[in-house]
């Protein structure tokens, strides 16, 4: 890395990306806009998953629960006549409370047991949503006041992604982040060096729930409909995690690359090969898991790209 120019390059890239993204609604078709919107939704989920799954090393398979709670909370409040800001804030508060509540029993588990426990969390909430018919519409789902919110939802989703990545970056550079890394490496030792592990694990779960539920709120506002399969299905539960792992967990760039790669691949495959796309999709995932277990950012062939972007030096620090 050669001094100031090298450090400035990512900033220039960000500025250029910001400019392009802000003029995009006038340039591209609504179809592309919605595609970018969904990419942003997945990216937010992948990046927020990574706070618990990557930084702290606890595989939270139930991360989409927060998305679902945010979506349902927002939808219900929108139907009661609240505006989007209030409704989304309500959805976020619901999922924060839920995260704080479940962190106590869940973090008594470790490893595969934790992963299974969190996966069960999805079903728990799904059953609740299915049965609280008066509030949630049951299995029929819930519609929100109609209207075309595509363009503002697009802007909002881009902003949420930017905020989530910034938030994640700040965490990785903070004392809190250092504690999460130490918990990932050896929780018992971290605790014996003074890290308040129980509190920090709960905080990490709450922090990862905030972006996920917020983007859930914006999602339902844009799509104007949410149903249990869309909020608590396998697709929304596993895609963000696969994206984070594919890109490289515990890094800032990883979830971003993974989300970009997978959503593009999905789009390409199902338009070009509508009958084979799921098979090929699965095949590619298995291949990557076998040959690139550290994810794209840690693959040797990717290093030149990182250097060209001017983030090569920083990656090691974020890798921690």
């Amino acid at each position: 890395m050669n001094g100031a120019a090298g450090h400035l390059r990512p900033l220039w890239l960000l500025a250029a990306a910001g400019l392009i993204l802000s003029v995009l609604p006038w340039v591209v078709s609504p179809y592309v806009l919605v595609w970018i919107f969904l990419l942003c939704v997945y990216l937010t989920l992948a990046a927020s998953y990574d706070i618990v799954g990557g930084y702290m090393g606890y595989m939270n398979l139930g991360h989409s629960t927060f998305f679902g709670l945010g979506a349902y909370g927002t939808a219900i409040l929108l139907n009661h006549g609240y505006g989007l800001p209030m409704a989304a804030a309500g959805g976020v508060i619901v999922s924060i409370c839920f995260a704080a509540l479940v962190s106590y029993p869940l973090f008594r588990l470790r490893g595969a047991y934790f992963a299974l426990g969190t996966f069960g969390m999805i079903s728990l909430v799904e059953v609740l949503i299915n049965n609280l018919r008066n509030l949630t519409g049951g299995s029929g789902g819930i519609s929100t006041p109609p209207g075309d919110n595509t363009v503002p939802a697009y802007y909002l989703s881009v902003l949420i992604v930017a905020a989530t990545l910034t938030f994640s970056y700040l965490i990785s550079r903070s004392r809190f982040g250092l504690a999460l890394f130490s918990i990932r490496e050896d929780e018992e030792v971290a605790r014996s060096l003074g890290v308040p592990t129980s509190l920090y694990k709960a905080l990490a779960l709450v922090f990862s729930a905030i972006p996920a539920s917020l983007v859930g709120g914006v999602y339902v506002w844009c799509v104007t409909y949410i149903s249990p399969p869309a909020a608590f299905g396998l697709e929304i539960a596993l895609s963000p995690i696969v994206m984070a792992m594919l890109g490289g967990t515990g890094t800032l760039l990883g979830p971003f690359l993974g989300a970009l790669f997978l959503t593009s691949l999905q789009e390409l495959l199902w338009t070009k090969m509508p009958y084979l796309h799921l098979t090929i999709y699965g095949g590619i995932l298995v291949t990557i898991g076998l040959f690139m277990p550290g994810g794209i950012v840690r693959a040797r062939w990717f290093r030149p790209v990182l250097d060209a972007l001017g983030v090569g030096e920083k990656m090691r620090y974020l890798d921690l």
Partner: protein
């Protein structure tokens, strides 16, 4: 005045196995207490009880006259008791400096600003002689360096009491000398040390007081000279003099 650290009749029973039976110890600032004993004598369990990793079945631990029995290990660390592990456990994918920074960021100096905490971590790396490897991932260090790293990490928490669990095990003779010098320097800083050690020569050289554990009980407690001549200690290590004679007789 109350001693810096005191164990009163600490007993720990695991599923009917008595790991510690009414162990007492007292530690004053600047002391180096050696804990020796055969394998399975309860030495590491004693450390686990003091550092809050396990709760004693009965008995109490006092620090500066205040009871700390049953406190979480993070709280005990913040009060000023730090420990190393028998098998080294560095945060493998973090760098050496980051490892020590965890100690500096969550021990007694946790409220200092970031730069000062990094400076503290570097000081401790310097102290144990690891400053040149600050940016190396901890996984790449040699065993000696990993042991030094564990010591530095503990010192960065600002302890008054340091528990060293077999720091010398597995090291070469010259590396042992290096660690002995470090322990002496630690004592000069006014930090009290309890060290579990199998190498008697090292214990004799460093410790003012030695405690011998066997099957969870203290069988001797005193100066190194007294302890090695204690018949019960000899029995625990070598068997009874009776069986020794018989063994010798049989060979002849």
């Amino acid at each position: 005045m109350a001693p810096l650290l005191e164990c009163r009749d600490v007993t720990k029973i695991f599923d009917g196995l008595i790991a510690l039976a009414q162990v007492r110890l007292e530690l004053e600032p600047g002391d180096i207490l050696g804990v020796i004993g055969p394998n399975g004598a309860g030495k590491t369990t004693l450390f686990n009880v003091i550092s809050g990793l396990v709760r004693p079945t009965s008995g109490k631990v006092f620090y500066n006259g205040k009871e700390i029995t049953g406190l979480g290990s993070n709280k005990i660390c913040r009060l000023g008791i730090a420990r190393t592990y028998q098998l080294v456990r560095p945060f493998a994918s973090l760098t050496t400096l980051e490892n020590v920074l965890v100690g500096a960021s969550f021990g007694r100096d946790r409220l200092l600003p970031f730069r000062e905490r990094v400076a503290r971590a570097r000081e401790e790396l310097d102290f144990v002689g690891l400053h040149e490897r600050a940016d190396e991932p901890a996984a790449n260090l040699t065993l000696l360096d990993k042991k030094r790293l564990e010591i530095a990490r503990c010192l960065a928490t600002g302890p008054k009491v340091l528990l060293l669990d077999e720091v010398i095990a597995g090291l070469t003779a010259s590396e042992v000398l290096n660690i002995i010098a470090t322990v002496r320097d630690i004592r000069k800083r006014g930090i009290a040390v309890i060290m579990i050690e199998h190498v008697l020569k090292v214990v004799m050289e460093l410790c003012r007081t030695v405690m011998v554990l066997n099957c969870g009980s203290t069988i001797a407690y005193g100066s190194p000279g007294e302890v090695v001549n204690n018949p019960r200690v000899i029995e625990a290590y070598l068997g009874t003099s009776d069986s020794l004679h018989r063994g010798a007789g049989a060979r002849v």
